[in-house]
Symmetry: C2
Subunit: 311 residues, 2 copies
Amino acid sequence: MYIGVDIGGTNLAAGIVDEHGRITARDSLPTLRGRSSGEIITDIARLCRSLVDKAGLSMSDIKKIGAGCPGTIDTQTGTAVYVNNLKMEGVPLAAELERLLQKEVHLENDANAAAYGEYCIYGDGVKSFIMITLGTGVGSGIILDGKIYRGFNGAGGELGHMTLVSGGRRCSCGKDGCWEAYASVTALIAQTEEAIKENPQSLTARLAADRGKISGRTAFEAAKAGDRVGSDIVSRYAKYVADGIVSAVNIFQPEKIVIGGGISREGDYLLKPVAEIVKANDYNKYRPHTQLETAKLFNDAGIIGAALAAR
Amino acid sequence: MYIGVDIGGTNLAAGIVDEHGRITARDSLPTLRGRSSGEIITDIARLCRSLVDKAGLSMSDIKKIGAGCPGTIDTQTGTAVYVNNLKMEGVPLAAELERLLQKEVHLENDANAAAYGEYCIYGDGVKSFIMITLGTGVGSGIILDGKIYRGFNGAGGELGHMTLVSGGRRCSCGKDGCWEAYASVTALIAQTEEAIKENPQSLTARLAADRGKISGRTAFEAAKAGDRVGSDIVSRYAKYVADGIVSAVNIFQPEKIVIGGGISREGDYLLKPVAEIVKANDYNKYRPHTQLETAKLFNDAGIIGAALAAR
């Protein structure tokens, strides 16, 4: 058995994961991200111990621990080089956890861990696989020849920070026009907000008022009920998502690309328009095509992937 | 010894290449691209034979022949799947040449061959390397772990067809907003043409009139002579080139990227502004950085790379 840990900005989630990538027990704690890295690491260790107890196991039943963490990760040394939203810089996370738990720990970037989890469970044995996670940002994990692609310095695989609109919107990373600035759920919410301001009588506007907030679902819900404003927002967002996926296809021609993150629960309402644009703009017209699907593990991908990457 | 052949839209160029990638003899014939593929293949075989004679060798001194060809290439079967500007579709180029020359032939995409040549000679032993060729289009070759990256279907590695401006200019491939539509020399010439229309009194306009045509060099020449219109064109073009290279950096974090094609002869006049933008927009702030250089083999890269890929 393995432990997989998903270190998020909101929650620290952990699971006992078997050899086949099945989660047999799970637990979580709030991250409370204002804290020092030392406090967070102590809580991760506490979470791992309580999880093992809860599963009726002892630490000796655990072969290894895998942890996925956002930001720039040095997987060789197990160091969190820089984690923007946890204020970690040069933290030897794996070594600290190993000291506390007396167990080998493998640290991985969270988007890479999620992609690896999805790949191992639903990759159907393909050799090249990309997972795009649409959330607060646009995360991505690239699997080539069955291995996570990291670049020579470990910082690669950031499809979210390709240029989608040269000279366009400022991204949270500081660069203009990143894919993330157009295709993240944060961007979708901003796009919905703008459309509501321009169309205060629309169903989209009324749904947002009823719910007391605008979410990534607002436009989809309105579109499904026949609202033109909602369907325009969804169409434009699908075009942004698709334009970035087309780039990934033309660069990698991978066997499979999956779209993950909460918004992927919209299923065909998102996937169909995206897939149509991708098909029409694939540079490859004469060879087999990349399969495009929604991801299937949802929030479990990070836990499973971290554990399987450690395995 | 090997023979390397570079099948271009204008010329068929070939060279005798030694084990170390040095060209010891060379020859060429016009492609005359209106012709049938059979006629072109016959001429390639003739070129190889005359080249061997010219070098004072016999065919038995040649170990293998490598050929680089534009378009979608199936390297496994040696087939030109689709070559737009030579009107080839499903042509078994390698097999036909093998039949005519009684020698093993390896067929490769031309941008991949050029990248591989540059990588073998000037790659300094790095493991990940990308060559961008700015010409009629934007070609690219991606070397990962010392091998040409092709994707699962052989059609990958087309960085020129990433989206640079979602909803932007139509590319020759049919998609909107491709990098190629902004950063190719064809695009630079169009950008220069537009600027000349708006500034008919500028030095850029006068240089174009004196030369009787606008080329990729016109704006650089005017900029070097202090013309504001010329330097604005160069700055904007450098931004387009850089924005695509930033994407390649953020995705691959390769050890080295080189810029090739005729325009790379502008050296620091192009490289410096591009490098500044790339440095400022690299998502990686905490790890070693990709080296950015101009390519060094110029027109020889294709011949050398095709031969070394066959080796």
